[in-house]
């Protein structure tokens, strides 16, 4: 038992932090100590954590830059919201429907990850980044012109406008172009978000420590050497990329089932969102899953905490971001920090440890 704990220490610490945070927030919620603004932020926060952790699988573990993570989230959000909308009252109870919705979001986002990954994963670095960015924009664009309605004759599709669906009088709009999907059941709760974070963490942390996870990291470190020992590079790149996409889809499910009206805008599913998630990952430490969780929490709450500063808050956010990057990564700043740390023996051991 003790050995089991030692071997999985990092995993358990990460899961412990998340559980601890969940309990604290639940207590605060029960005590009524949280503002409604903060409460409204909880489910999106859970979605962001899942996004950051899953993107880290692509960026940190696979070592490929993706700027289209929000696109996969978008697919998960819309496929699952569509499913929930047509099955409200058909599948009972609600939680069961939500479980199905999650599986659907996972599946479709993963499928798109697979389909887009197959042709583009052989591209290198920045080229892959721009292609994934393009992909995210395409998804957002297409959803904005997609009209789906339902009447007694079945489903109707159009990419022009709602009129050309030719719905009967009593027909129902399901996806209404730029207006998106309205009336998705509000199945997402903070607890559901917490559970999904825990599942995502277990999947990713255990994946990394598996035979397949090692193959993925071997590809990251040296493709040619990985091939020379018989690692199928395409297969494992695709596996990691699709898994990352599928989990982003789960985040999308959580996100969409928290909203009355789901629209694909630049803000929530555009490249801005992809970039925001990437910022979480890089600031948390590329390849550090725990870091992704923590930085997603801090960076989501930071602009809210700065809300008192009103118009200056995003400016401050930008400055903090630049300063942190320089402080963390500039070789001169690193050298300076190492000199400072060397003077404080207490920190010495800590900085030498490596976490996953």
């Amino acid at each position: 038992m003790k050995e089991l704990f030692k071997k999985n220490k990092d995993t358990l610490i990460t899961l412990g932090i998340v559980t601890g945070a969940y309990i604290v927030i639940e207590i605060l919620l029960k005590a009524g100590a949280l503002s409604s603004l903060f409460k409204g932020l909880l489910v999106p926060l859970c979605a962001y954590i899942i996004l950051a952790v899953s993107l880290n699988l692509t960026v940190g573990i696979l070592g490929e830059l993706s700027l289209g993570h929000a696109g996969f989230m978008c697919i998960g959000a819309f496929t699952s919201a569509f499913f929930s909308k047509i099955t409200v009252g058909v599948i009972n109870p609600g939680w069961l429907r939500f479980v199905f919705a999650i599986l659907i979001g996972f599946f479709f986002a993963g499928l798109f990850g697979f389909l887009i990954g197959m042709p583009v994963l052989r591209l290198k670095g920045d080229y892959l980044a721009i292609v994934t960015l393009a992909f995210g924009e395409i998804i957002k664009n297409i959803i904005n012109v997609l009209y789906i309605g339902r009447d007694s004759k079945g489903l109707h599709f159009s990419i022009k406008d709602s009129v050309s669906l030719g719905l009967e009088e009593d027909g129902q709009m399901l996806i209404n172009g730029a207006q998106g999907i309205t009336g998705t059941p509000k199945d997402s709760t903070f607890t559901a978000g917490f559970i999904l974070i825990m599942i995502t963490l277990v999947i990713i942390l255990n994946f990394i420590k598996s035979r397949e996870g090692r193959a993925v990291m071997a590809i990251r470190d040296n493709v040619i050497a990985a091939e020379s020992v018989g690692i199928n590079v395409t297969k494992y790149k695709l596996l990691a990329f699709s898994l990352s996409a599928a989990l982003a889809g789960v985040a999308g499910v959580l996100y969409s089932h928290n909203l009355n009206s789901l629209m694909a805008t630049t803000k929530n599913f555009g490249y801005n969102m992809s970039i925001m998630i990437l910022v979480f990952v890089v600031l948390g430490g590329i390849g550090s899953i725990r870091g992704s969780v923590i930085s997603a929490i801090i960076l989501t709450l930071l602009p809210e905490l700065l809300r008192g500063l009103s118009t200056y808050r995003m400016l401050i956010y930008a400055i903090v971001l630049i300063a942190m990057m320089l402080f963390n990564w500039a070789p001169s700043a690193r050298a300076f920090r190492e000199r400072m740390v060397a003077k404080l023996p207490f920190f010495k051991k800590k900085s030498a440890e490596k976490e996953v």
């Binding site: 830059l65 583009v120 904005n144 956010y317 971001l321």
Partner: protein
């Protein structure tokens, strides 16, 4: 005839993309980084012209001159403060994120000074539209933009290939270490690249806002992304590639707006990009790189 006019508008839009893409491509070629803030430099340049011309009622040429100056200084400053310290950093991701930070910063500075409301930008092009035949009208903005783009292309190509500073840029983009050993001042060369790229961004901003006369703090982002796509499309690091990529992108965008769907035009542009890269992984004119085993 309608087709011809869509085509000319497309070329004109593409010319703007090409000018912006030149900035991306030169910076990428030399500093190997995606300067995400480039689009926002365009926006700042446009606001400067707006201030000088519309608010202070000074002549247009002065506005453009000041804008070019401001952007040049801005570009060089950004490089020196935010990017240079990270040049030796282990991961290229760090400088990308910093560039994103700079982009947020510029947008929010503009937001604080000018507010979120759209400013009506009055065209700085004094030329009237030209009528060819009965139905084909070419706006003055289109003519000026296309001519400006061609001139910039020619001058830049000559500069890079014929002058000492230009050849230093080529040398640094080829191999920084070797260039340094040859006595080239790498920092100065990179600064110069940022200066040129940002000056071009200022010009692109003026042309863009003259053709599409509305200005917000986010005006630069989408054209920035598109121009970046154009640069990748043509083969990032290549000056003629940026030109060709920009023009093709503008044409595709405008024709798909006219004939397919205005809402889907971006998706079509991005689809073409993906197809081009899948077929030719380093863009139309990009160099093929192979790792030595």
């Amino acid at each position: 005839m309608a087709f011809l006019s869509y085509l000319i508008n497309g070329i004109s839009l593409g010319a703007v993309y090409a000018i912006i893409a030149l900035g991306y491509t030169m910076v990428y070629g030399i500093a190997k980084m995606l300067n995400f803030a480039h689009g926002d430099v365009i926006m700042i340049g446009s606001y400067v012209v707006f201030c000088v011309v519309s608010m202070l009622n000074l002549p247009v040429w002065l506005g453009i001159l000041i804008s070019v100056l401001v952007c040049t200084i801005l570009g060089v400053t950004i490089e020196a403060i935010a990017y240079r310290p990270l040049r030796q950093a282990t991961s290229s991701l760090t400088v990308l994120i910093t560039a994103i930070g700079v982009s947020y910063f510029l947008q929010n500075v503009a937001l604080l000074i000018f507010g979120a409301n759209t400013k009506a930008f009055s065209s700085v092009v004094p030329l009237d539209a030209v009528k060819i035949g009965d139905s084909l009208t070419v706006t003055g903005e289109s003519i000026v933009t296309i001519i400006a783009c061609i001139i910039i292309m020619i001058v830049l190509t000559l500069f890079v290939n014929k002058t000492k500073a230009g050849r230093a840029m080529l040398a640094v983009s080829e191999d920084k270490g070797a260039a340094q050993l040859m006595g080239i001042n790498v920092n100065k060369t990179i600064s110069l690249t940022f200066a040129i790229g940002s000056a071009l961004a200022a010009i692109a901003g003026v042309l863009l806002c003259s053709a599409y006369p509305s200005l917000t703090p986010y005006t630069g982002s989408m054209p920035g992304i598109k121009a970046f796509v154009a640069a990748v499309f043509g083969g990032i690091g290549s000056i003629p590639g940026a030109f060709i990529g920009g023009i093709i992108l503008g044409i595709i965008e405008n024709l798909s707006k006219a004939y397919i769907s205005s809402q889907l035009s971006d998706a079509i542009v991005f689809c073409v990009l993906i197809i081009v890269l899948v077929v030719k992984p380093t863009g139309l004119l990009g160099k093929k790189l192979q790792e030595k085993v």
